[in-house]
Amino acid sequence: MTADGPGFGEPEPRRRARIEADPEQVERGLVQLVLTLVELLRQLMERQAIRRVEAGGLEDDQVEELGRTLMLLDEKMTELRDHFGLEPEDLNIDLGPLGRLL
């Protein structure tokens, strides 16, 4: 089976997060891949922060700092996506049998 061979999945078209060989698409493909990894890290940080806050024991200023950091990260990701014309659903990688990354 080849890269365009059959894969089971959803009915709607799914953009595959692979780097295109077309030189005009290389930059977009690379940006998409890098931003996907950054988004993964951002979501992991967010989940960890939520767990820490829910566990209690953080001072108010620590919660404020965590929240502000996450808020800025969120805003920066939105800016970068907008800059490169990407939608939130573009920042994902299909791992085949393992499902999608995010």
């Binding site: 365009d4 059959p6 894969g7 959803e10 929240g67």
Partner: protein, 212 residues
């Protein structure tokens, strides 16, 4: 080049009304194929889904992702031969079932659409959303226990997405139950869709023969 739509049992393969569609058989399995589609478009994707659902309404299927192609019918048959045992095992797992999908998300209130005024407020929103989604997942888990063959939470932490593999005889009761639950959750936007072909239950981490 031909387009691949679905794999089904050879013995149950339905008669295909649509022009250009054909059944390729190998062993116990059959594959629904059709002429190559043009450039990817929303209409083509919808047409692909419609054909898969048409086959699924008459037989157990493994839906094949939109865009999957083979060079010709010989190549498609070779795929069936190569991956037949893995695909047959998967078909058995979804036999007699359809998929119902639930999507639940907190409504984006006008206030929350604006930037939080402080880090603490942003954090409070995140915690609140997580609690809401986790609570909904627990409720749905209890509601669906014993009524579905499998319930799977799909990725995504900003909303809750569950896919339920439901025996066809239970589809309507389960749908009704979910719609009742959805209408009671005035704090969330909930959509229940289906029955669909079992899209979320055909790739379960086993050897799929899928190269991406």
């Amino acid at each position: 080049m031909i387009t691949l739509y679905a794999v089904t049992w050879r013995a149950d393969a339905p008669v295909l009304d649509e022009d250009g569609l054909a059944l390729l058989a190998d062993g116990d399995l059959a594959m629904v194929v059709g002429p190559a589609q043009g450039t990817a478009s929303r209409d083509d994707a919808l047409a692909h889904g419609r054909i898969v659902e048409q086959v699924a309404s008459a037989a157990d299927v493994l839906p094949i992702r939109y865009g999957a192609t083979a060079a010709d019918t010989d190549a498609a048959r070779a795929l069936l031969r190569e991956h037949g045992s893995a695909w047959a095992a998967r078909l058995q797992k979804v036999e007699g079932c359809a998929e119902i999908a639930i999507r639940a998300a907190p409504p984006a209130s006008e206030a929350e659409a604006e930037r939080a005024e402080s880090g603490a407020e942003h954090m409070a929103r995140l915690v609140s959303r997580t609690r809401l989604l986790d609570g909904a997942e627990n409720e749905l888990g209890e509601l669906l226990t014993g009524r579905c063959r499998v319930v799977r939470r799909l990725a995504g932490h900003e909303e809750l997405r569950l896919s339920c593999l439901v025996e066809r005889a239970n589809v309507e009761p389960v749908r009704s139950l979910l719609e009742e639950w959805a209408s009671a959750r005035t704090d969330m936007l909930v959509t229940v869709t289906g029955p669909w072909a079992p899209y979320s239950f055909v790739a379960d981490g086993e050897d799929s023969g899928v190269a991406l």
